[in-house]
């Protein structure tokens, strides 16, 4: 790899929090991708051991600005994954924008997931296990993005 790595000469280790963010973003991408494939009609049904996933997905809150909410989520997780991976490179590790994008995107994700969870709990009174999983993942990513803010120049 041409990219300079972390060496004894540059002993600062790759931030573990960013690694964790990348792993969580992959899981989030899988979850939101699965819901998107259902919503777009590529797959015929959702595996749902807990709750009423398909009814939740059929509700008006599953679409925002004409695009399935799950697809917005997939876009957010993809952004987080790419930025977290870039943020592991020596060249970008201390870049302020990397920390800000991870923090900002995940903060927006937490706010939106919170709203959707409220809708599930109090408006449609049905749960979708995948939506809850995604809400947990984005919350963890948000928490993990906070230390990066101090690290950034």
């Amino acid at each position: 790899m041409d990219e300079p790595g972390y060496t004894d000469a540059h002993p600062q280790a790759p931030p573990l929090a960013r690694m964790a963010i990348a792993v969580l973003a992959v899981i989030g991408l899988l979850v939101s991708g699965y819901l998107s494939l259902y919503k777009l009609g590529v797959i015929g049904g959702l595996t749902c051991q807990v709750g009423s996933c398909e009814q939740v997905q059929a509700s008006p809150w599953a679409v925002m600005l004409g695009v399935p909410v799950s697809l917005w989520g997939a876009g957010a997780y993809l952004t987080l994954l790419v930025v977290a991976l870039l943020g592991l490179k020596r060249r970008y590790v201390d870049e302020r924008w990397v920390a800000l994008v991870l923090f900002g995107v995940s903060a927006a994700g937490v706010a939106f997931s919170g709203y959707l969870t409220y809708i599930e709990a109090f408006v449609i009174e049905m749960w979708c296990q995948w939506c809850v999983t995604s809400a947990v993942i984005i919350t963890l990513i948000f928490l993990l993005s906070i230390p990066g803010l101090n690290r950034a120049r």
Binding site: G5, T7, A9, L30, I43, G44, G45, T47, C48
Partner: protein
């Protein structure tokens, strides 16, 4: 003495991390493929063909359980039917007697007809009940109900009956895509379960079971037998109308409670 070559700085490589990331991705895709349910139906294995897990309903809740209604809300006679789309006797009743009941009683304003799901233990009992509700959601319950009963033998043992119901749905003017998506979801599972609970609370054991103005009656073998029964229960509804034909069917036992009032949907 030659100087030792400077040691190459050791890299704290990210390779193990990338391997872990790749494994997570592959595991996720593997889980997805293992649980995939194709749009054409994967043999019906994941179709929701069972009751919802619900706590027993209170009397008030039972009174609110909705059937699917046809005819004038203020008709002097209300006929409630508890039926299962896969029950052969129901199919016989629906194809032979119901059209006459609709024509002579419901369409003339003498009676209101209310259909309640009472899925028995046939292969697709619960799924077909949900399919009926999905048709009702698009306002074509009665059309679909007649067709699904008439074609019962074609789908009763199908691996994936939704593939057969889809074209039937389209035939009666339903949006086939919406209908199939509904049947392949878990929509109306709760409604069908509540309907079944209502039937059980009224002592329904088999299908079709009929109630007329709250009285349970034996399933009549002919329209004439039914009309004879109805004339006993609600004579006012037939004032000035000659009897259909002589028949001597005895009155059925009185139902333990009248089914809930239903609103047309």
């Amino acid at each position: 003495m030659p100087r030792p070559a400077p040691e190459r700085p050791r890299r704290s490589s990210l390779t193990p991390f990338y391997v872990i990331l790749g494994l997570v991705l592959l595991a996720g895709i593997g889980v997805f493929l293992a649980n995939r349910r194709g749009p054409g139906g994967g043999g019906g294995g994941n179709l929701v063909n069972k009751p919802a897990t619900l706590a027993p309903l209170t009397n008030e809740q039972l009174q609110r359980v909705q059937g699917i209604s046809r005819g004038r809300a203020d008709a002097p006679i209300t006929i409630y039917e508890f039926a299962d789309f896969q029950c052969p006797h129901c199919a016989e009743f629906a194809t032979l007697l119901e059209p006459v009941i609709m024509e002579r009683l419901v369409d003339t304003g003498k009676a209101r007809y209310v259909f309640y799901d009472f899925p028995l233990g046939f292969k697709w009992s619960w799924l077909s009940a949900r399919a009926g509700r999905c048709a009702n959601a698009q306002g074509k319950f009665w059309e679909f109900h007649s067709l699904i009963f008439a074609r019962q033998q074609e789908w009763a043992f199908a691996k994936d009956p939704v593939d057969i119901w889809g074209p039937l749905a389209q035939q009666v003017g339903l949006d086939q895509g919406k209908f199939e998506a509904c049947v392949r979801s878990d929509q109306f599972q709760k409604d069908v379960t509540e309907s079944s609970m209502l039937g059980s609370s009224l002592g329904v054991g088999g299908t079709p079971t009929l109630f007329v103005n709250g009285r349970r009656i034996e399933t009549p073998p002919t329209y004439a037998a039914l009309e004879t029964e109805l004339r006993k229960i609600a004579p006012g509804a037939f004032e000035g109308t000659p009897a259909a034909a002589p028949a001597g069917v005895p009155a059925g036992p009185v139902a333990p409670a009248a089914p809930a009032a239903t609103a047309p949907q």
